[in-house]
Symmetry: C2
Amino acid sequence: MVKLYTYWRSTTAYRVRIALNLKGIAYEPVPVNLVAGEQRAADYARMNPGLGVPTLVLEDGTVLTQSMAILDWLEETAPEPPLLPRDPVARARVRAAALTIAADVHPVNNLRVTQKLKEMGHSADEATAWMNDWMTRGFTALAALIPDEGPFAFGDAPGLADICLVPQIYNARRWGCDLTPFPRLTRIEAACLALPAFAAARPEAQPDAT
Amino acid sequence: MVKLYTYWRSTTAYRVRIALNLKGIAYEPVPVNLVAGEQRAADYARMNPGLGVPTLVLEDGTVLTQSMAILDWLEETAPEPPLLPRDPVARARVRAAALTIAADVHPVNNLRVTQKLKEMGHSADEATAWMNDWMTRGFTALAALIPDEGPFAFGDAPGLADICLVPQIYNARRWGCDLTPFPRLTRIEAACLALPAFAAARPEAQPDAT
């Protein structure tokens, strides 16, 4: 069985949990407590020099890092159900929507970034306002990049954009980001969380949730 | 001919310029002055709601955004020369190296992020120290994720990891980041910039360079 190094509240690990569930791939979760700094332990850092989660370890010991690279690997090795459409332009549009979260929002709100803001003298309230600003900008862009009709970000089945969006909305709710301007996005969230693959991947459902 | 909305110093536009050159695809560059805020003009924002560069407009008017999505589209529609190996695990390793720049470094150092730091009262020197910290962390991770032998990040031909690395090293030099701990990375940069596809994509070679 593959092993997934994960942290319950990590939105990037949450993406991979959803995708493994959608593809029907059983995995052994191995918790890495990011708040306690376990990602900086020498053994873990050798596997994942980026000092983050997720890390996916295959049965033969192969180590894969970076959630978006892991999702592409999954799509290439376990194509059903697909996370991306077949047409190259359609794929590029789904990828662009996913990257609006994965490249423009999440990295700027990562735990190490908010920790650094606090080291620079900012309060917890200022760090929260920082996060909510980037989420609001990203959700605004994302809402303009997806079709108006659902139920999912791109049509009748969940895919890469939904897999990136749902964890980010979890984070938005956690930090009190105002989601009322984004009804299309919260409808996508509701449609996704009604599916067992998403529900089982929720932070609250993880063995390391406290 | 395709149109590339670009800014000479944008590292994400630089990635796409390199890839178009490597694939032998001629393009018309359309400058978007990010420092002057042209990315927020209504006509541009309709094309690129993320308010960034690059934007690639195909001959039929199709609009593609997000550099990493554009690079995947290029790889899928113009497969030669390949930017990724064929084996799924090897692809995932190249993608993880590329994303160490594209997801962990660049987004945290984007112009809008350093502008926001300044709005929060930080000096230009503090913004530079911020950028250099993230670059140092990212380069440290990247050096551990790639093989020790070159000339390129993964073997004898440049690919997705090199395309992300070379623009980031440009930015590192621009902001005085100490690159002496990363000789493998600067050797990759030298090997890449010896190729016409990379040299022609350099910021200094762009029509909007000042």
